[in-house]
Symmetry: C2
Subunit: 343 residues, 2 copies
């Protein structure tokens, strides 16, 4: 029998392969695999949204520096972020955990305290889950359920040429937070008496360990009476996400480096690590900001928002998704994406 290595496919290849096998057949299934959340018609005036994520110890988090309470919060926030990326409101979550005897009851209490804090912050109910033994590390699987008025839903595939590309908050900080934590860990392993030097780095580390889902933006857009033409959350980095929007919408894009929001702390720390802040923003990932497009005629409605940056335009050439650098150079945007299986 032939054996094909998973690494030849990569994550996106694997998802594509699975996706091709499964075409929804029920009239209630409006959207299956391929957006931030599945979309279900339950017969009311709102769609039900479903999104799920699995976090595995040693792959998605390292308990030597991720406090369990923050991990619990993050596991909820990243799923809530997927609901927000459909222009939806999160309502319920389920949380399944696989854990070994090395965790004490007190440790599990910490994890659930973080989950509870997130439930309160995002006004969601924890309604179910599963608890199981795990032979090795901690496994967390969260499913979020949300709702959105049928005429307010934002898919990845609705962008049109000339739409304005918008992004919330700032990008690249979570990635540099991770670099800082990894560096501290290495230094601690070399010299356990070392004191951590992270006083000035609270912002970056907070962005990595305890990201917030941008549900506030959904309220802000709703108040402005604006429905994005397309939307996605920034989990794998701006490059990967803009390519998703363009591919699914059949558009190209031009993004301007000078308009990409990067925090001062990110600039300074990128310099320390001899990393490009632009690369951190494009390929760092885990920012959990929202990337969306709007009609030019809607620009007036949100142009003064302190939470939103306008970074470029959709174009009509699907073969050209480009970044225009501060120096005026033009380069194709390339996705690094998720490479766990090929590492």
């Amino acid at each position: 029998m032939t054996r094909t290595e998973l690494s030849t496919l990569g994550e996106f290849g694997l998802i594509e392969r699975i996706n091709q096998q499964f075409t929804p057949v029920l009239p209630q299934t409006i959207k299956g695999i391929g957006d931030d959340a599945a979309v279900i018609d339950t017969g009311s005036d709102e769609y039900t949204l479903v999104s799920t994520d699995m976090l595995i110890e040693g792959v998605h988090f390292d308990l030597s520096y991720a406090p369990l309470k923050h991990l619990g919060f993050k596991a909820v926030a990243v799923n809530v972020s997927d609901i927000a990326a459909m222009n939806g409101t999160p309502r319920q979550i389920t949380v399944s955990i696989g854990l070994s005897n090395r965790f004490s009851v007190e440790a599990i209490d910490e994890l659930y305290a973080g989950i509870q804090t997130a439930c309160e912050a995002y006004k969601v109910d924890l309604v179910g889950g599963d608890t199981s033994a795990s032979r090795s590390g901690l496994v967390l699987s969260v499913t979020a359920i949300g709702t959105v008025k049928k005429d307010k839903i934002a898919y990845r595939n609705g962008a049109q040429p000339n739409d304005v590309i918008c992004v919330t908050g700032d990008l690249g900080a979570a990635y540099l937070g991770l670099q800082l934590l990894e560096r501290e860990k290495r230094e601690f392993l070399e010299n356990p008496n070392m004191q951590p030097q992270l006083e000035d780095k609270a912002y970056l580390i907070g962005r990595q360990l305890k990201p917030e889902a941008r549900t506030n933006i959904i309220y802000e857009l709703n108040d402005a009476d604006l429905v994005p033409t397309s939307m996605i959350d920034v989990s794998d980095g701006l490059a990967s996400e803009i390519l998703h929007l363009c591919k699914q919408s059949g558009t190209g894009a031009q993004i301007f480096e000078e308009h990409i929001p990067v925090a001062d702390e990110t600039f300074l720390t990128a310099d320390e690590f001899k990393l490009s802040p632009l690369t951190s923003a494009l390929n760092g990932g885990e920012d959990y900001e929202l990337l969306f497009t709007i009609k030019q005629t809607d620009y007036e409605k949100i142009k003064n928002s302190p939470h939103i940056s306008f970074i470029g335009f959709m174009t009509n050439d699907p073969s050209a998704v480009e970044i225009v650098t501060k120096g005026g150079g033009r380069f194709p945007v390339q996705a690094q994406g998720w490479q766990h299986l090929t590492r």
Copy 2:
């Protein structure tokens, strides 16, 4: 800081502890933790049901004898079973997997072929999921979404004294299937040239490796215009499940050994292993049959069903959940349940 071992709580203790922390607050959340599925009101005339299960290699399955295709089928079936246990119809599933490089693309194709077979068998759409690397074994997390007319829903807590206790199919077979597979594995490890001797055991092994969810019963009950007063699926064994129904309904129960359905193959193989068929039925688990109660006045509607056995009655003394043996003895029903964390 105090350290309390998880083993002091056990699974049910841990779930109880989590449950106490999380009280649903949204009006849309009709039922949170504590039944086979969460119940959500989306504003239509049907409730939306959500159930989730996590399967971890080395804990819930052993790939040395569980074919990946069957595993994929089973992962879906056990979640569909939870939807059926609310008297509901499954509609969609999400499947998240954590996997390592030791799995080939062909192996993953086998797994998804089983998932697809189950999707077709139970008429559900796969609508989402997550793929991730795992540092150790295979992890599968499935969430099922279903619907039920509001006036047809069956909770665990609706049984009344004198209700008739019903169970579908037969019990104990999946447990003996597991014993057979474990024995074959031991013998194979001792003598790799050994030929498996499982010709007569197809039924028991099939019940373990590829259980079916009893969605057919939901149609049958609906056709009979019968709504169970309470219902649960038999995942941990009859003993554990009847105790759940009694505890949540505030009733006692009398179950008659002579009426508990046990297949001939189960009797014969139990004898081979010097196990009691009754113990296998009470504490074996993984049968995924439905245990439910009906009003006595509804008995006529299903008394001739070939799929349903009538095994006892609910009583009004919550302190007495008893089994009446063929010899006429009475014993309290005791749950063994899930002990992964204490092993």
